[in-house]
Symmetry: C2
């Protein structure tokens, strides 16, 4: 075991550390090595730093989440308040705050984190156990009900500890995590080793344990992850009512036999993140086969057009194939974050732009919709159709989503690039400068300039001379027509089967690549088995899915819209609308059906009036992520459409 060795190295600010993972083809580029300087994301990251993260600390205080830990530590009287998983919100926020320190030093934030970590340390039990819900009378119930999120909270602690260690070089939270991880490893495992059966009721611990393995080099954390994957399918999770079936818990069959995503969407996808992390270390083919089978099921039958996951409210999860209702979509913000996390891991294992496509789709649409433009309020569910009633909230009783968005924004620079042997991979297009180490002797400075997502024109200046390959992702939304120039000259490059443009050469300093991705407004349709979308189409432009919102279309009863002249939508950048965005404008027909229906719900066909009151209207559409930032009004993505 090389724990001491690893931990004595200066930690790198990588989100997931596949640097030494034998079965990951891509290696991470540290967050700290990439400086975003665009207007789209950097403005949101500033809101994250200045509004979201401070408010979330405040809310964790106000709602007793940090007090629960103080009480567990004996630092204040009283008993646990709130829901049993509330510790996890504190840990996830510590993770977000840690990553945000890579943007700029913040001694005050650093000190605030230290003070909370001291409380957590004091709350930890002598045997390493840590969960502020299971104190006092409840101490006797520790580890008796795997659906009470003890492992979920532990997993978030492990992820937070990895982030805190990597971003601050401090081991204070990491040592707490290691003590708890050791306690878990000592407690749960094969009965022939004298351990107890254990299964993670809400997956999360798996990812955390692999990251602890990567930091410490201690294989027992990896073996523990493998055990938690292996035990799935026991059917021991679940109860016969309240929709908490074994499927809900991904406990209906052995993991390696999973053929689709089952049950609670965040649980399902977090579990897959952990399994992908495990594969990156062990290379077990059955894991990858199952993961790819589930991924194919997701993108061909189970995913919303905005990258969201989860069709049903009663299980916060998946329905049957093609069950993707729009208005009553669940599409939890956390599930979209999970979708990004899973695809990031798949991409690292096996570079394929399709994984980056899903990551980008979720990021720009169903993750970003999860927070208001001013950072003051969040969506838990992200429907694709609304009557104006669904509004973001400042906080939730179950407040998993806010810190999930915060950590995603804080770690965003880490998703832009990867490296492989003498190669740089560009996954996301965003204006930035980067310093990317390819070997001990070659560190490449890059500057990326682009107005993405408003424009598909990207310029990358290679500022360091040297021989290496550059892989540029051609997004799935760009069917054709992309062009590439090197120093102003057209460059013939064939697309790899994995949809990257590979440019391998001896670079001169200041060589400039220009990638042009045509970005017209484009109508898409759903597979006809998505019943609600039959006869409907949606408009996308580049990575952004668009919607119509009532507030921009006061003359239009959105529910009665029939789209005509669908080809001729024009795009226009409007700088003073919702922080600046490209709107799409076109024409449609409105049918006044109340006249016909006279408030009946069902009518014989032969009683329906044949003539209808129609009028032409102009409609304006905005990117989906920006909806519900003004006065409440209806919103729709999938419009009735004759095309």
């Amino acid at each position: 075991m090389d724990q001491s060795n690893n931990m004595s190295n200066t930690p790198q600010t990588v989100i997931t550390d596949t640097t030494h993972s034998p079965y990951a083809l891509l290696r991470p580029v540290p967050i700290a090595a990439v400086t975003l300087n665009d207007t789209f994301w950097e403005s949101r990251r500033r809101v994250n730093r200045e509004v979201m993260i401070p408010a979330q600390f405040q809310l964790c205080e106000e709602t007793g989440r940090i007090d629960n830990l103080r009480k567990a530590a004996g630092l204040m009287p009283g008993t646990f308040e709130g829901r049993f998983f509330n510790d996890s919100d504190v840990y996830k926020l510590l993770e977000a705050a840690s990553w945000s320190l890579t943007e700029q030093p913040d001694p005050e934030l650093d000190a605030r984190m230290d003070s909370i970590i001291e409380i957590i340390a004091a709350a930890q039990q002598p045997n390493g156990y840590l969960n502020s819900y299971f104190m006092g009378e409840r101490a006797a119930q520790r580890w008796t009900n795997f659906d009470l999120h003890e492992m979920y909270c532990a997993g978030h602690l492990f992820q937070a500890a990895a982030a805190h260690y990597r971003c601050t070089d401090k081991t204070t939270l990491l040592n707490i995590a290691i003590r708890l991880a050791d306690h878990i490893c000592a407690t749960f495992g094969p009965e022939e080793q004298g351990k107890r059966f254990g299964v993670d009721g809400h997956p999360e611990v798996e990812m955390g344990l692999v990251e602890l393995y990567r930091i410490t080099g201690d294989r027992k954390y990896l073996e523990q992850t493998e055990y938690f994957i292996d035990v799935r399918g026991s059917g021991r999770l679940g109860r016969p009512f309240d929709h908490q079936t074994p499927e809900y818990h991904q406990d209906n069959k052995p993991f390696r036999e999973m053929d689709r995503l089952y049950g609670h969407s965040v649980r399902a996808v977090y579990l897959n993140c952990g399994a992908a992390d495990l594969y990156a270390e062990t290379g077990e083919q059955a894991l990858l086969t199952a993961l790819k089978r589930m991924w194919t099921s997701m993108v061909t039958r189970q995913m919303y057009a905005h990258g969201g996951l989860g069709s049903r409210w009663e299980n916060e999860g998946f329905g049957t194939d093609y069950e993707l209702p729009n208005r009553h979509a669940h599409a939890e913000t956390c599930a979209s974050v999970a979708n990004m996390m899973w695809n990031w891991r798949m991409l690292s294992i096996e570079p394929d732009a399709r994984y980056a496509d899903v990551m980008e789709l979720a990021l720009y649409n169903s993750v970003l919709s999860g927070v208001s433009l001013d950072g003051s309020a969040y969506f838990y569910q992200n429907p694709l159709d609304d009557d104006g009633a669904h509004r973001r909230e400042r906080w939730f009783t179950t407040a998993c989503c806010p810190a999930n968005i915060a950590r995603t924004l804080a770690e965003l620079p880490g998703y832009v690039y990867s490296t492989s042997e003498n190669a740089i991979w560009v996954h996301l297009y965003v204006a930035n400068t980067a310093q990317i180490a390819l070997s001990d002797s070659l560190s490449v400075a890059l500057e990326q300039q682009t107005d993405y997502p408003w424009s598909g024109d990207v310029q990358i200046q290679v500022q360091t001379a040297g021989e290496f390959a550059l892989h540029l992702r051609v997004p799935g939304w760009c069917d054709a027509g992309w062009t590439l120039e090197l120093n102003g000259e057209a460059l013939e490059t064939t697309l790899t089967p994995d949809h990257y443009l590979r440019i391998s050469r001896v670079w001169q300093a200041d060589d400039t690549i220009r990638l042009h991705l045509p970005m017209p407004a484009e109508w898409i349709r759903s597979h006809p088995l998505v019943i609600e979308n039959q006869g409907r189409a949606a408009l996308r432009r580049g990575p952004l899915l668009y919607c119509i919102e009532g507030v921009d279309n006061s003359d239009v009863a959105i529910d009665y819209l029939h789209l005509s002249d669908a080809e001729h939508f024009t795009s226009e950048y409007v700088p003073d609308l919702l922080g600046g965005l490209v709107v799409l404008k076109g024409n449609a027909t409105l049918v006044d059906t109340e006249v016909i229906w006279n408030h009946a719900l069902y009518q014989p066909v032969n009683m329906l009036a044949v003539t209808t009151d129609q009028k032409a209207v102009a409609i304006t559409m905005i990117p989906y992520f920006a909806w519900a930032n003004r006065a409440p009004s209806p919103m729709q993505i999938w419009l009735r459409c004759e095309i």
Copy 2:
């Protein structure tokens, strides 16, 4: 108080006793006065008597539901098992069994009920309290959490006691009910009367208390019902997670301000049944106004085409207006029974065939679909579209539905007729003989002959001479073309505004009325805001809604069906299919979209192939109630349709 007087009368076997209710315009006809002799319902009632009710007694034993009462009575050791509302299943079954005794004497069943009633009597506490869940350690928690269904169980006991008393003339169960009702009345009420605040977490007690008032004449039961209606809107029910909002509990606003059906559908409609019962006694206009407002909301925006209620699984209840998903419909069998019960009460208050229409719609479609043809299995949810996975089950952990169907079938003859001053009202068409008392001096014998629901031809022979009016309902599904004959001669009769044909005359014995209701197969559409049904139509014939089931259409991929030639559906009675039924046959077009889509979920419109593989197919449709009685296969009510 005239309790002794009332109870000394021979009880009448009426479902709800509005005989003396000052604000009910219709009076009930005893179940025992109507003898069904048709093939449609009487065969189902035989299955109810011979299969369903005996099996439900057996299952209540096997699952510990009766043992729970034995344990509470100290008759056996052990503690409560199962869900906290399980007593109610025993009571509802006693109610069903009581009504079934009106069909034919059954000393064995009578004795079985007596033995269970003895157990219940022994389980009742000295103060009248009765609930087998709140015994032992839980005794201290009695009446502390109104969502734990103590009042719900009490209400079912009261309804069972009324039925048992009316059908057997025994007061054994009634005396238990009265003691519990007295305990509730003494405990809950206005604080200025020295009582405690109380609200019914799952409405049901309201109906039961009014029936106890009607039996005993003791107004305190009526006043208690009024109190339970008055306290609604306190917002004291509900918790901030698990979808248990105040709306879920119909506790979001005062009852008289309710403007639509909110929350859990069975709770909402049971509450309205209780409020309608209260109105029948008090005539308070604000109650009726609220009830009619909710009814209008239901039939114009909240009800499925099969009479089912409840769009969402997470609250087993209502969604927003026009939110009526088909495959993931909840449409609980109990909610359809509740819909019948509510409309029966509205009809009694205010004769209007529209109430009877909804009652009939639910009865023939979403109530009847709740049980298999052989009586061995039940649906909890009644979707309008299925992939073949939704199957009836022998029993449920939450087993509210089976006995609800059983009591409905057992009491069915009671829904056929009502009376008013010197008038007989015919609500349902079903072959039967009846002896209907109109006054102390006039009891009219009737014989109704019809093949309803397969035919709309009805013959009613008046077998008693006398002067009175006959009101014949013209169902809402019969738009036009009905004809009426008296003794073979056309009879000119205008329809009342309430859609009954009123024939007032001095009848001669053996006068024969023939009513012809044309019953063509007819396509219906939904209001366009029912998004899933846009571009779709459903086929109905008479009171029956039809569906296509895969097992009859092995060549047809139902999800890809486009209906063409929709006018020319022919009807055919098939005696050996599913117990004998009218099938409808026609033509349609099948589009092989897998060819086009190649397993993609979303595609740009301009990438879609224009040519499609189409073929003509013949399709066969069966009544919805009969689906899922053969091998599992897909089912659909709302078909894609060009018309």
